[in-house]
């Protein structure tokens, strides 16, 4: 699965994107976050506060409960500050 990161999430993880093999037990965006947090301290810190994490599946906003079945690209980023 391709995962992309933006803004301070990208900076804290020091990567713009990565390809990961998600275990079959990971079914929702929330599961992805929990799984990422087990991958190292930088992930645990970056995803520490769920309130400031937004997600998208295939470039569409989704909530933490959203199923990732059918996803080709998952994105994580802070609340938007454009405009």
């Amino acid at each position: 699965m391709k995962i992309v990161y933006f803004a301070w999430l990208r900076e804290r993880l020091d990567k713009t994107e990565e390809d990961v093999d998600l275990p079959a037990s990971v079914e929702t965006i929330g599961d992805v976050i929990e799984w990422l947090k087990t991958r190292g301290e930088e992930y645990a810190l970056a995803f520490d506060n769920p309130k400031v994490i937004r997600a998208a599946i295939n470039k569409t906003h989704v909530r933490a409960e959203a199923k990732i079945a059918g996803a080709s690209e998952i994105a994580f980023f802070p609340p938007m500050t454009g405009g």
């Binding site: 992309v4 933006f6 803004a7 301070w8 990208r10 998208a56 470039k59 569409t60 906003h61 994105a75 980023f77 802070p78 609340p79 938007m80 500050t81 454009g82 405009g83």
Partner: protein
């Protein structure tokens, strides 16, 4: 709507040319409203030397286009245009430009505000300030969330 309706720009926005394109889109346009969001020289009291705007390519255009489409469903618009700058932006430069054209002013004003409110809270752009040797990510604004919420039916 032509493909030029929504654009991400890496260089300064020519707001005069964009306004003209919208104003001349039809012969019965009676009202054109434009909004320019401009890079301020300060952010929450601190002087800044520049802003960095990051975006999610593809999703950013898609999100804005869907807001423009929604605006066109709600108000009778002849034309609409949104240009969002990315990259390094100097104080005084335009970050985002929105223009709407309608027969009458009510629709043009409402559609421009609606597009801006949604863009602020759901288009994937992120701002970082540069100043005094530091770079700081701008926090999301609760006021913007409320502004977007008022359009919910």
């Amino acid at each position: 709507m032509n493909s030029e309706t929504v654009r991400i720009s890496h260089s300064p926005i020519d707001t005069a040319a964009e306004t003209r394109a919208v104003a001349e889109a039809a012969s019965n346009i009676g009202a054109v409203v434009t909004f320019s969001g401009i890079c301020r020289a300060d952010e929450k009291g601190a002087q800044i030397s520049a802003l960095h705007l990051e975006h999610y390519p593809g999703m950013a255009e898609q999100e804005i286009e869907s807001h423009v489409e929604e605006a066109r469903k709600r108000w009778p618009l002849f034309a609409a245009r949104v240009v969002h700058r990315v990259g390094r932006i100097m104080p005084g430069e335009t970050i985002v430009f929105v223009a709407t054209a309608s027969a009458h002013r009510e629709a043009a004003f409402a559609a421009a505000e609606f597009i801006m409110d949604y863009l602020k809270t759901s288009a994937p752009f992120w701002k970082k300030t540069e100043g005094g040797g530091k770079e700081i990510w701008v926090d999301a604004n609760e006021k913007d969330e409320r502004a977007a919420a008022r359009w919910q039916k």
